[in-house]
Amino acid sequence: MMEASELKKILAAYDTKLDKKLTLNVASLKNINLDKSNKNTKTILIYRIIEIVVFSLLALFMGNYIAINWSQTHLVISGIIVGVFTLIALAGSIGQVVLLQQIDFAKPIIDIRKKIELVNTHGLLFVKLMFLSAPIWWSYIVVGSDYLFNIDLYTHMDVDFVLKYLMVNSLLIIPLVWFLNKLTYKNLHIKWVRKTIGLLTGTKTMKALEFLNDIEKFKS
């Protein structure tokens, strides 16, 4: 049986050998374009900045829309709902830019890996927002049809239908919030969570979530 200390000796012998035989090829080193920046991080950063610009414009538009239609309660409520979702998406994208700016490979490995993997799981936020929008999808339709076609759908709806719709969808919010809270890397051990995330996001996000799980286990 071999002890760990004996293995260290083997490695020490290997180290001595490397000391003698390992050489640095200075010519090759000088040939590398050392000023080449991290293209991958820059590309992600550009995408996130575009997201921020788009969501900021949308938030401004919604603010303006609410102000213009202030006297019509149903349009204001619809506008506020769409505006809130826009602001959540904007906050998510700003958070991503902050994370990207904090990625410094000279920092401890666990901190940096966590930040990188959180950047890679960004897609999950949009999936969650999409699901969370389900009970209030009518807000998008009301705002869209009013702005694009100048048609106020609400005035064409039956009051009874609107009330029933609102009641049923408000009841949906609680199980939906529970469902979305479950969709995190901490619950990857649950089969349906794993399958749902895999189905809705894709391999890259799934791998990032799995690694976040590994990081948490490693830290504990």
Partner: protein, 169 residues
């Protein structure tokens, strides 16, 4: 000024070349991709060279960067060769008389140890490399970003695994 910086950089790399060599070999089993990983590590080290924090040893700084780059490289979905700038040239690091190196130092135990390290996940692999390089628990904790107690616990677990692995020899 820049030439002076480059000379200092080359000297730093030369002084710590074993760190990069071992990390590249542990995280990149595919020989063809090693040049790419070497290049990525060197570029990242160069980009961070001006921001080197003297509070830490050069080896700590180098381990953090090289391990972070290696883990990212290892985790890339498709490990396709990157079109590097020195594709047709030699690697940055080379072993003098490689044939002899293959025959003598990569003996049975060393191969078994390398196999054991290769089977560990990305984070435990980093821990194992640091442990075998005789880094103090404090330095390992600094590099990885976990507590000293956690380092000690994890090392004792890995030691047990290692013992089991080598039990039948």
């Amino acid at each position: 000024m820049k030439a002076n910086k480059k000379e200092r950089f080359i000297k730093t790399i030369d002084d710590h070349k074993k760190i990069i060599y071992k990390i590249v070999n542990s995280y990149c089993p595919n020989r063809e991709h090693r040049k790419d990983l070497e290049q990525e590590i060197i570029i990242q080290l160069w980009n961070s060279f001006d921001n080197y924090n003297e509070k830490y040893k050069y080896s700590t700084w180098m381990y953090r960067i090289a391990l972070n780059v290696a883990i990212s490289f290892y985790r890339k979905e498709k490990k396709q060769p990157i079109k590097n700038d020195f594709y047709d040239e030699e690697s940055i690091f080379s072993i003098v008389d490689e044939n002899e190196e293959n025959e003598t130092s990569l003996d049975f135990h060393l191969k078994l140890l390398q196999k054991f390290i290769n089977n560990l996940n990305e984070l435990n692999k980093a821990l194992m490399l640091l442990y075998l390089d005789e880094k103090s628990y404090e330095e390992i904790a600094d590099i990885l970003g976990i507590t000293k107690t956690n380092v000690a616990t994890k090392i004792s677990r890995i030691k047990l695994k290692l013992k089991k692995e080598f039990q039948n020899i």
